[in-house]
């Protein structure tokens, strides 16, 4: 959940755009990617929103008016208060409170933080698994390729959320009885393991093309190990589509995390993520306490939309055929 993890996809984006010793900033501002970025107001807006939300989430402990995970600070008598501008609102709680007296605004900040952290880690895990398997399958071919790709095919026949639920169920049983913290990693694991196929297939396809190119043959001739060829030489050349899928998957991972939490298998109710908040708020839809579900729902929608827009732009910008 550290700052590095949070920032990684952004960092990778810039690395892909630079990669040479010439002044990094100059390289960025000179690049086609930057030009394409600058020429779309929508994309800039999406990037700004994403940055703001990630920033706010990262700084949650600093800027949130309350700590919703600190159970000692909760007061049941503060529960179910409407937003401050509605009759009966309390100035201490800008967006109102939920059924346990948690400040909605603070919980959204903390919840977004959990959601983003889980999604980023899950996507990184999926990339790690998918890229390795794809490289191996593409480079070795034959029976290894067949086995890995058939597993991938089987995996593709199930919707990601089902696989995530399955892995979640198994992990919950395995981690049973450990005090605290396990839910976070279970979520990372279940989302990560349900997303790897796309990477594996893409990377395998590209590796099939790359492995017959001269530089690979040259590397083979001078006796480099297979691992070195695969990861040092082939990998950098197959990475850019991975980046695109990664960005789009990030939005999907946020949704999956929210869905799992909504279904009650995600983060515990005492440490709500966006999905958990929506699940809690859902119970109060008919009683008029709309703020419990509206604000977290809106946050989730905006976050996913912004990341998706960025992903779409990245896909188009990196696709030479569209330029």
């Amino acid at each position: 959940m550290s700052a590095e993890d949070q920032g990684l996809p952004m960092a990778e984006t810039s690395r892909a755009a630079t990669a040479a010793p010439r002044g990094i900033l100059t390289r960025i501002f000179d690049s086609d990617l930057w030009y394409s970025f600058r020429s779309s107001r929508l994309v800039m807006a999406a990037a700004t929103v994403t940055l703001l939300m990630v920033g706010a989430a990262l700084l949650a402990p600093v800027i949130a008016p309350h700590d919703p995970y600190d159970l000692r600070a909760l007061n049941l008598m503060d529960s179910d208060l409407p937003p401050v501008w509605v009759q009966g609102g309390d100035p201490r709680f800008l967006l109102g409170t939920d059924d346990q007296g948690r400040d909605i605004l603070s919980t959204i900040l903390y919840g977004t933080r959990s959601s983003i952290a889980i999604s980023v880690l899950a996507v990184l895990l999926a990339i790690g698994i998918g890229v390795s398997l794809g490289l191996v399958a593409g480079y070795f071919g034959g029976i290894v390729d067949t086995i890995i790709m058939r597993i991938a095919d089987v995996k593709l026949t199930f919707p990601a959320i089902l696989v995530a639920l399955l892995i979640n169920g198994i992990a919950q049983t395995l981690f049973k009885g450990r005090l605290g913290g396990a839910e976070f990693w279970i979520l990372v694991l279940s989302i990560g393991l349900s997303f790897w196929v796309q990477y594996a297939r893409t990377v395998r396809g590209m590796t099939l093309v790359e492995k017959n190119k001269e530089y690979v043959q040259a590397a083979r001739l001078i006796g480099l190990s297979r691992a070195a060829i695969m990861f040092k030489h082939v990998l950098p050349n197959v990475l850019s589509p991975v980046l695109v899928i990664g960005t789009i998957n990030l939005a999907l991972a946020v949704i999956t995390e929210a869905t799992l939490s909504f279904l009650g298998v995600g983060l515990p109710p005492t440490e709500p993520s966006l999905g958990t908040m929506i699940q809690i708020g859902n119970k109060y839809l008919f009683s008029g306490s709309w703020w419990m579900v509206a604000f977290p729902g809106l946050t989730l929608a905006i976050l996913v939309l912004a990341v998706n827009l960025l992903g779409d732009w990245l896909r188009d910008a990196l696709n030479p055929k569209l330029r």
Binding site: L71, G177, P269, N282, F286
Partner: protein, 525 residues
Amino acid sequence: MKLRITTLAAALAVAVLTAPAEAKTFRYAFQGDLNALDPYTLNETFTLGAMGNVMEGLTKRDKDLKIIPGLAERWEIVEPTRWRFYLRKGVKFHGGEPFTADDVIFSAERALSPESNIKSRIAAGTKVVKVDDHTVEFITTGPNPILHYEWDTWYIFSKAWSEANGATKVQTSSSQLSPFTLKANGTGPFIIESHQPGVKTVFKPNPNWWGKPEHNLTEVIFQTIKSDATRVAALLSGEIDMMDPVPVQDIARVKANASTDVLTGPELRTIFLNMDSLRDELLYSDVKGKNPFKDARVRKAFYQAIDMEAIHSRVMRGNSANSAILISPLLFSRSAEFKRHPYDPDAAKKLLTEAGYPNGFAVEMDCPNDRYVNDEAICQAVVAMLARIGIKAKLNAMPKAKYFEKAGATQKYDSSFNLLGWTPGSFDSHNVLLNLVGCRDGKGSGAFNYGGYCNPKVDEIAGKVLTENDPTKRDELIAQAYRIVHDEAGLIPLHQQTLAWGVSKKVKIVQRADNQILFYWAQKE
């Protein structure tokens, strides 16, 4: 064109003619699942209620919970330890098997088998003797004036059917189902036509029922709708005719709707917390080598840390009555003598410090999330209140099927701290003393004592309660037992919840205070 109109008219006419003249389908929904159809598997009001439409006991209870004859036409106490039951003649099970004394004896053995969840229905040592095909005698070890109090939910199985369907052994788990638990064969007014566990169950009236039907239904469909909002929406839209429970936050909304109403009433169920005070080391805690709950001061600290007024007004929105004892005031005349230990976090902290835990400790709390009104919200509130005295409680909320297995006998009470609700099936305190606070002996005593609280003095009093015939003396004994549990905070009673059924105005249904949903008294317009 003309042809088409004629065809359409013909089709319409056929559709109108073939529709049954009075198809009265009653649809209802509950927040939790109906899993195994074996009523000996899970001693839970909802399951027993659903099966009570299909199966019957020797006795029944009427709309006001008075004991009336069921499969037994009448009974007499030949001598204090010998009861004779005269069985109804000419009764047939749904499968066509005639009902005889052998079925009663078989059902008694089945209820007392090790896997059974309803062992307490028949006191240990009771002998069941067949006099003739339609007469059975129960010979008890001592006088037992409340022998038959819970027999309305001791449903009689057909011996022949059970043997033919592999149902002689009780299904141990309500979530892992063997084939026979998907079927049911009783003598009751309804037959189960199809059953998809956790999804949908269809009931049809039993045309050969021995009694006179008081309902006008032609079909009943039960569905599980876990989500509060969805359940309310289904009722408001007319998709279902009845549902339980109406979430407390939506009572006003359902009442305000023109076509629906809320049936409310005090419920006999008491909600309480169990603390594992039996094991030498807590299973789920950071305290190793000892068990803090063995110390009454720790239990009392937990008790005093919980602000029941806040739970009453905020979580339950006034739809509950806080309780100092484990039984509803409607079922025990001297309830008013008991007052809850006052909410006092400072006193609680002091108690914890005295007990050697100035910084509190960590413990996991198990809680059902689809059984009682706002069960999970209550647990969350409790966890937050405990945090203020330094107890780091981690909440595991889970569906009831999983919860009852984990915290209950199936997984050997695999829980350190949990929430449970209980309606004494006999509507009498002895049931509470036996099931909830009795020392666990594996034979029926303490079977639902999820914390393993054990005080031999309480057991001794409970034994006397069973055989005492004088009501005043009996109440005095009961009060003594409750006093002991109260003073050492053996369990933490929370409240009695209020019944809230959402019903369509087209439906008339009887709401009993035990919260069994019995539709054999339902009328639909």
